[in-house]
Symmetry: C2
Subunit: 335 residues, 2 copies
């Protein structure tokens, strides 16, 4: 692996090198005596994803004057925390909620999925506590607590059509943006950045993460099935209350709300196309304005960071989230 | 809470004070914004258990010249790691494996059980990384990796009648004894014990943990259902290959092996009483001799530790595992 691979000039849309880097790290460093655990984790890692979290870490390193090539492990741990949460996301509640789940639980059973995810969390913390001084292990464990808290809040909010946009943002901040923020913060901390730089990059990551989650929700309503890797409207099928739905409910008439309520009270997927159409009509534009607002906050958060190619790349990461509807973020499930 | 509660003279059979202490710590310190997670964890903690792991930590502290009352949090984390693994043990593989599971997964569903356990792991590491210097966070995360590895090995060994006693011991060392060893080691480390003392207490915990697991297996075959909190022979129903079964298979004739094999190939619980009787006849005495051997190793491991009431209590903890068959370890499920 050459330094060039990790140069801050790396184009924001060309993730192949970064992906290869994380894969290489994983293949050469991740191992367990247990073939089932290793296989379950490697499958999840190879299923796709843009490796945006390690990318944020390496760009934060560079933006604070460090050399990204010297911090590959730290960056990879950010992706592995994400992968471990995906392994656990796949655990299913008996047959009724088996739809839409990934391979781990189906192939190996829930118990192995749980243990594989636990093992991965433990393996990450075992390595992080051996290799990194305070506060990095603390930042990562606090982030994991936030992620779990956000996911439980999301479960509790399933089917709640009265969920407010503020409540939605709080869930997105915990379940998604906390790891983006930690990815940026740890990159800054590990190269001894100032408190001001660290706070700035943390804030950047948090705003970026919220925009990323909102963009993810929009793609579920607008992208084509092939680029999405799953049916359009899958969030509806799972009874998630996403931000385009919240925005559509606030802007549509009573008829749309009645259709949505009937769907959420019953279980007929026949209504999904009509609801998707309603969300596209009433909600998507408002959500896009929200995304643009968080992208702007993310860019503004970078103000204390000195100009550099890496800072420019971070801004471009944010800008990409305000892109045109056709620009898929890639395979969404493992984004 | 007075210091007297945690005096090293505390009788080894009187766990009420220690239990109250952990409960108090938990009630006053453990909190999440999420009522479901808090409730799931508190239910598991209040379901019983002897709090043997925090007890080992506090006795190790005292045996190395420290004051147990100053290390309550560290001791409580040992119990909480155990509780988090129990929450995840309850995750079920659809209806077929729902038998014998505890309340969390049944009441809240698998997803909440997984997230509650994850949250608890994260909460523990968040606090441990904030409050304790290297190597304690590293010891605990490495221990969690061992536990997961041991549990996967146990899953893979289900129904394998060719499992050797050495393979069994390796599983028990990882899934059970590693946390006993870590509980003792962390008590020593946190009061600045010498390398020799730390190694001695670690070895003590490991031998004690192996004996504890073997004793647990014996109780499944010999205790009455009331003291056990579940049907006798439950390990058989789960197709676990426990050490009394391994010992019985090695000492019985071919008839017993044939009965066991038919039971493990089929699914009729009718054969359980006959298998339990066979294990009692052929296996229990041999397993008791193994337990006595590990108890002796545990006592011998303490040799470098200076005589003290705490050292005496640690020896008594080990001796209690060689007790008469009627002496239940208490509610086994959450031991």
């Amino acid at each position: 692996m050459s330094d060039a691979l990790f140069s801050p000039e790396l184009d924001a849309n060309d993730n192949d090198d970064l992906r290869g880097l994380v894969e290489h790290f994983f293949a050469s460093r991740f191992s367990t005596d247990n073939a089932i655990v290793t296989e379950a984790v490697k499958r999840m890692l190879s299923a796709g994803g843009k490796r945006i979290r390690p990318r944020i870490t390496l760009l934060a390193v560079a933006a604070c004057g460090g050399r990204p090539a010297e911090h590959l492990s730290l960056a990879a741990y950010m992706e592995l925390i994400h992968v471990a949460t995906l392994v656990h996301d796949d655990v299913v509640d008996n047959a009724s909620t088996r739809r839409g789940v990934n391979a781990t639980a189906v192939d190996y059973g829930n118990r192995v999925s749980v243990l594989a995810g636990d093992y991965l969390f433990a393996w990450i913390f075992k390595n992080v506590t051996a290799g990194y001084a305070h506060p990095i292990p603390h930042v990562l464990s606090a982030t994991l607590a936030d992620i779990c808290d956000g996911e439980v809040l999301q479960l509790q909010a399933l089917g709640n059509l009265n969920l407010t946009s503020n409540e939605y943002v709080e869930i997105a901040r915990k379940k998604t943006a906390s790891l983006f923020a930690a990815s940026a913060r740890c990159g800054a901390v590990t190269v001894g950045a100032s408190e001001e730089q660290t706070r700035a990059l943390h804030a950047f990551g948090e705003y970026l993460g919220i925009a990323f989650q909102m963009r993810d929700d929009v793609l579920d309503m607008t992208a084509d099935e092939r680029s999405l890797g799953k049916p359009v409207g899958n969030d509806l099928a799972e009874r998630k209350v996403t931000i385009p739905l919240i925005d559509a409910l606030a802007r549509s008439g009573g008829d749309f709300r009645a259709v949505v309520r009937r769907f959420y009270e019953g279980d007929s997927p026949d209504a999904i196309p009509a609801i998707v159409a309603g969300i596209r009509e009433f909600g998507i534009d408002a959500t896009r304005r929200r995304i643009a607002g968080y992208v702007e906050k993310a860019r503004a958060a970078l103000e204390p960071i000195a100009a550099s190619p890496a800072k420019h790349e971070l801004s471009k990461l944010a800008d990409a989230l305000s892109g045109a509807p056709g620009e898929s973020n890639g395979q969404r499930r493992t984004s």
